[in-house]
């Protein structure tokens, strides 16, 4: 049973790496898109409700459905999975960017203005740093869900740890599925811990919780 693992170590490593890529890239792209959108939405309030409606609807789209909807354009490739997961990450990160920026106490922004900060400098050095914990909370959800959802990409033939689920099911071989599940969970938790560490280093003024 368990001898399957050492015998297939290189396969497991390769799938883990693919899964990592399919999980982390979308979350990063999602963050890159969410930041400007979130900054706009936090500043001009009318912009946010329609964006939030679109985000809620997109988030309701099943991952498999979004994968297959992208097939005519991008084929059965990594790109299809990465774009779809980027959309989902965006949906969880954007609301947090907006909440983080809006949560900056008015007294703090007024103090910054009084000290002669212009709008851009205040955004970069006061508002965004204070919003970091909330933004990273969203990023954590984005990374963990992307890593977990990437395995569904296997159903359209994009390889990830999901390969072990499908292959294990076809061969009725639970060991393979255990390895896949454990791999996904470990990958997600490691990324999550890294983000917690990033948050701590970016916000040294906060209590270590």
């Amino acid at each position: 049973m368990w001898s399957w693992i050492p015998g297939n170590a290189s396969l497991i490593w390769q799938l883990t790496w693919e899964n990592l890529k399919l999980g982390v890239l979308p979350a990063l792209y999602g963050l890159v898109i969410s930041l400007p959108l979130g900054i706009i939405a936090a500043r001009w309030r009318w912009f946010y409700p329609p964006v939030l409606t679109v985000v809620n609807i997109l988030y309701a789209v099943p991952s498999l459905a979004l994968f297959v909807a992208l097939i005519p354009k991008f084929g059965l490739t990594d790109t299809t999975v990465i774009i779809a997961l980027t959309v989902f990450s965006l949906c969880v990160i954007l609301p947090n960017v907006v909440a983080g920026l809006r949560g900056v106490p008015p007294a703090v922004t007024q103090a910054a203005t009084a000290m002669g900060y212009g709008q851009l400098r205040r955004l970069a050095f006061v508002e965004l740093p204070l919003a970091v914990p909330v933004i990273i909370a969203g990023l954590r959800v984005g990374v963990v869900s992307s890593i977990s959802l990437a395995s569904v990409g296997q159903l359209i033939g994009v390889s990830s740890l999901g390969y072990l689920f499908i292959d294990g099911l076809q061969r009725s071989f639970p060991t393979e599925i255990y390895v896949g599940i454990a791999g996904v969970i470990v990958l997600a938790l490691v990324c999550d811990l890294i983000l917690v560490a990033v948050r701590r280093s970016l916000t040294p003024w906060l209590a270590r919780t």
């Binding site: 498999l64 005519p72 959802l149 159903l155 689920f165 294990g168 996904v184 999550d192």
Partner: protein
Amino acid sequence: MSFFSWAWDWVTTGANWHGADSIPQQVLAHLGYSGLALLIATLIAVPAGVAIGHRGGKAAVVVTNFANAWRAIPTLGLLTLLAVFLGFSALTWLLPLVALGIPPVLVNACEGVAGVDPGVRDAAKGAGMTTWQQIASVEVPIALPLILVGLRTSAIFVVATATLAAEIGLGGLGRFIIDGLASSEYGPVAGGALLVVILAICVLALFALISRLAVPAGLRKQGRPE
């Protein structure tokens, strides 16, 4: 051809609406799986979340962290694992869907109740309410908007993921997608995907309606919690 033209052609083909494994049957199967899973998840998560939120303190923080870690469990993995052990029994599809549906409801119920203004709690106590009365007629109604947000999230997760049940040989709208992929026919794949999306949007609309009707008038003005 684009996704939508493929999907539209397939959905508007009359033959797909009649007979065994037709669109109406698979929609019903999909709603059946999702509805039952959501019901069980709600029956477990709402009382648990309310109880933990009512007690407050560290437990509420633990629940939130626990629920976040829970997200890491890949549903497809759980589904295939159970299929290997249990075959095509009801538990095979029910357990993963219930497991998926619990965390959002649990976290929101817990946060909603824990977040009730202490002044309001004291007032309820001061007015002579028993603990049960406080929970049932003060804390839960105040937490209701947040509980509904949790239910909506769960419902969306469950409806979306019920698609995967087809991978282990069950019905539902995923049937069209999985079979279409297996036989390299894009029509049913696109059509099935479109129908799941429509179903998910209907669920969103349903919850928008429910929260309008169920949330007490006095709480509505505060705006929607996220």
